[in-house]
Amino acid sequence: MYSQMVDTGVSKVRNTADMDDAERAFQARIDALEKIEPNDFMPQSYRQTLIRQISQHAHSEIVGMLPEGNWITRAPSLKRKAILVAKVQDEAGHGLYLYCAAETLGAERGRLTADMLSGKAKYSSIFNYPTLTWADVGAIGWLVDGAAIMNQIPLCRCSYGPYARAMIRVCKEESFHQRQGFDLMLALCRGTPEQKAMAQDALNRWWWPVVMMFGPPDDKSVHSAQSKAWRIKLFSNDELRQKFIDQTVPQAELLGLTIPDEHLKLNPDTGHYETGPIDWDELFRVIAGNGPCNRERLQARREAHDEGAWVREAAIAHARKKAARNQPHQEAAQ
């Protein structure tokens, strides 16, 4: 997902015997589905885990602009270009909502950015794959944003108020992202044989990375239980993955595309699709920094940060100069 394998700092779920009175009262509030707000008491591990999770989510939105931004100048029509620009701008907005939510926990924006640029903080594995053709822009909207929605809709009910509210805004906008992607794929699939082949090629390359994007299988997901107890994760990786596959396979059929999984079949008893084996080594390789584009993505972010430094400094210098100039007026008014 946009946040994967978030470290909770605990090796097993804290039970009530391990907790002091304040922690027990905190857990009781969470169990009663109350929202935790910035100035409320919260255990340090809850605060740190949320900072990691929300900032990782924010970094994903920001880095996620790169693969799609790659195609803005080469969009096939003015309409598609305008839509893509609006979509990429939304991703920047999503990053900002999330950074602000992380800041309500006492995290400093400069620190969060520095941790991403140094590689200490992660972002979603999915954005380390390249966008080789125009169809990849459609595949990202349809599949990646479609997968993101699966995770983000439950997070609208998560226990931390500012995160839940940011998710509500994000979800309202994400639906446009998924639809424009599907619409793009639909146009290609109804086009020439070459265009349809391009759509199939994009699905072939994005399918497995998107399936993996939900994170490792539940039995290998060490921190999920604590995150669930804190209600900052509402469904397990496998539950969300299953939901996504069940929803997406019929959509691929509607497009006339083939899911690149020869073992994929509908189990008539459960009503769920079953997939072939998933190459988890690939996910761990990409998360460890060795995906196709990890270095390129970080390099692009570092360059943008460094080359923008003079703008940030000039703006604050200008603001201070203006404030100093206005000072005498303010004193006179008092």
């Binding site: 707000e37 100035n39 409320d40 609006a86 701008q89 939304d90 907005g93 900002l96 909502y97 602000c100 800041e103 400093e108 924006r109 400069g110 509210r165 940011a166 805004r169 906008e173 940030r312 400094e313 703006a315 604050i316 200008h318 603001a319 201070r320 203006k322 404030a323 100093a324």
Partner: protein, 97 residues
């Protein structure tokens, strides 16, 4: 004037929707000054015509009540149920009041 902090300060953003409601807190952002905060707020919080008016306030200028004092602060409102109209039972003959 020359503080070592190069970070832009944090601003809280309030947006009034077109329906005559009060300005509502929508989030926060960083900006060098108030003008930039307004422009950034427009781009961040009103991309889909969510508002017709924006207020920006420096976060450091906001004074908030302490959640630890919630009990003492709001307790006086709890034992005055007669402030609610439903406290008063009306004779059936009175249809609307």
């Amino acid at each position: 004037m020359t503080t070592p902090n190069k970070d832009w300060p944090l601003w809280e953003i309030f947006v009034r929707s077109a329906h005559g409601l009060a300005h509502k807190h929508v989030g926060s952002l960083h900006a060098a000054d108030a003008d930039m905060a307004l422009m950034n707020a427009r781009d961040t919080y009103t991309r889909r015509a969510e508002g017709v008016s924006i207020w920006v306030v420096r976060s450091s200028d906001i004074v908030a009540s302490d959640p630890a004092n919630k009990g003492a602060l709001f307790e006086p409102a709890h034992d005055k149920i007669y402030r609610h109209p439903t406290f008063f039972e009306l004779p059936d003959a009175v249809k609307n009041m």
